[in-house]
Amino acid sequence: MQAGAQWVGGLLLLVAAAAAPFLPNWVVSLATIAFANALVVLGLVVLWRVGLVSFGQALYYCIGAYAVALMGRWIGFTDAIALVLLGGIVAGLTAAGIGFLLARYREIFFAMLSLALSMILYGVLVKTESLGSTDGFSVLTPTFFGYAPHGAQLSRALYWLTLAIDAIAALFVGLYFRSVAGALAAPIRDNEIRVEFLGVSVTSIIHTKVVIAGVLGGLGGALAAMTIGHVDPAMAYWTTSGGFVFVTVLAGSGYVAAAFIGSLVFEVVRSFAVDVMPQLWQMTLGSVLLLTILFLPEGLGSLVSRLKRRVMKPGTAP
């Protein structure tokens, strides 16, 4: 089963990668942003499986993005692959540090403290005149081992890089979900104290998850910064985090792939909705979120499992 899912995922990935030369540039850019943001969502899915929601995931997203932008600004370093890794590492280290504090909290306290931490970064960036204050500043054009593409070629290169990082991240997160620590997520969500009686430190498991989510957030932010070509403090604002949480709830925590599909759907719907009816965009978002919570509490991914159940047991009533 699981191996089959991996093959399907790999095939979809190859199709997505092969399609790039035939797609218009704006579609490639849109997909790149979507798949970069999907990494942040994947991190939130890791937390969501233990019942934790971070309303401050934009913190890592913004750190990853600013790490890339500052390397370009300070020392003129532009190698895309090294920068993406750097974004992930810096965000991961931050997460490891504040994880000591954050891992003690549950439920809404976790959500609120992460929110506050991201707002601290926002507050600092807004007041830092040398980094362009609320306007932010632009990111240098990335290069790939000395190769410096432009225009459509650059978009495609970033798209492929994003897909590659996505594939690696999906693989590792999939492995993590099937490890002992990953499998303990549902028991922790149900009853933490019983898990502790098994001799497992729940705090350290949650700390690990915070770090995983932080690294993924940083990678996503780094890729997004290079694709957009600009960073600004709004990347750390709580509404950015809210958008990521939205996609997480929509996608559900059942499947790794759901994060990527959910993120793609979100970006596509957003670009059309903002174009066609900008004054109703948030309302659409809110209504979809509400309907998902009320009628599909396990997310869109649960549709697949329902379908699968129906296919596997023909003849039985659904």
């Binding site: 439920e107 609120m112 506050a116 507050g123 104290i193 809210g242 509400l290």
Partner: protein, 298 residues
């Protein structure tokens, strides 16, 4: 010396505003265990309602005091109507779900209401500064204070006193305290918890709208004002301890004074200081200053 007194007065005024906004949030959390993101919408609707009211009474050439009361009344009426629609129409359906899921429900409602504001009042911003101007200024030594700010502090003090007194000495307040302490036991003793929930939510909603109304003359009423206020109110409530009224008061004072000090002494850390203080308090006391220790249940 002037700076010190300016910090103190500015801090007090800012704390008054924060308290009015945060007290509704903490009340709803204390009773219903709902972290209500929609509180930002109540604030915004209150501010827009107040701006509309100011428009009506300046056109109608009313007495300023009457106009001010009308402004607060209209805003709170809007808050009550929204509160009853939300609680009866939506939140009722999700009671008993995870606290985090309910946060997401209120977040979704907040997003919807943000656009509803745009549909009702349009995208232009409103000025509602007339009450502020007609209140005039007062000079105490070298310090120039707006009378309006003094009224703001008085209103906050009145709200704090009313909350304290009604929780302690009225029948409804005692019932509320019971529900805050243990919902299930309260229900077992025959308290109508559903009714207590509805009434609490209405009071909270009206207080959120009141916060928007009193601030409307001091700010430019424009789209997105609810977004910032909701995180500020969260910070205040988290510092004081979620669900605690005296915690909201102390939290508002801490945040208000710290922010005023930052504005006067180091303007570049103004935004940072609020959340920095919050993080510091939470490191020392994970669940805020005024919160009972919760037993772990197996």
């Amino acid at each position: 010396m002037l700076t010190a007194s300016a910090i103190l007065t500015d801090g007090l005024v800012y704390a008054a505003y924060l308290f009015i906004v945060a007290v509704g949030l903490t009340l709803i959390f204390g009773v219903m265990k709902i972290l209500n993101v929609t509180h930002g919408s109540f604030y915004a609707f209150g501010a827009y309602g107040a701006a509309t009211a100011v428009g009506i009474y300046t056109n109608g050439d009313w007495n300023a005091a009457l106009g001010f009361v009308f402004m607060l009344g209209l805003a709170m009426a809007i808050g009550l109507i929204m509160g009853i629609i939300l609680e009866r129409g939506l939140l009722r359906l999700v009671y008993g779900k995870d606290e985090v899921v309910i946060v997401l429900v209120t977040y979704a409602t907040f997003l919807i209401l943000e656009d509803v504001i745009g549909l009702i009042w349009g995208t232009q911003s409103y000025g509602a500064y007339q009450p502020m101007i007609s209140a005039g200024n007062i000079e105490i030594g070298e310090l120039v204070l707006s009378n309006y700010d003094i009224v703001l502090v008085v209103i906050a003090a009145a709200v704090a006193f009313a909350a304290y007194w009604s929780l302690k000495y009225t029948r409804y307040g005692r019932l509320l305290t019971t529900v805050i302490y243990d919902r299930e036991t309260a229900a077992a003793f025959g308290i109508n918890v559903t009714l207590v929930y509805t009434v609490t939510f209405l009071i909270g909603a009206a207080l959120g709208a009141l916060g928007g109304a009193v601030m409307a003359p001091k700010i430019s009423v424009t789209l997105g004002i609810g977004v910032e206020v909701i995180v500020l109110a969260f910070a205040v409530v988290a510092i004081g301890g979620m669900g605690s009224i005296e915690g909201a008061l102390v939290g508002a004072l801490i945040v208000g004074i710290c922010r005023a000090a930052a504005v006067h002494l180091m303007p570049q850390i103004e935004l940072f200081v609020v959340y920095g203080v919050m993080a510091l308090v939470l490191v020392a006391r994970p669940y805020g200053l005024f919160v009972r220790a919760q037993p772990r249940k197996i």
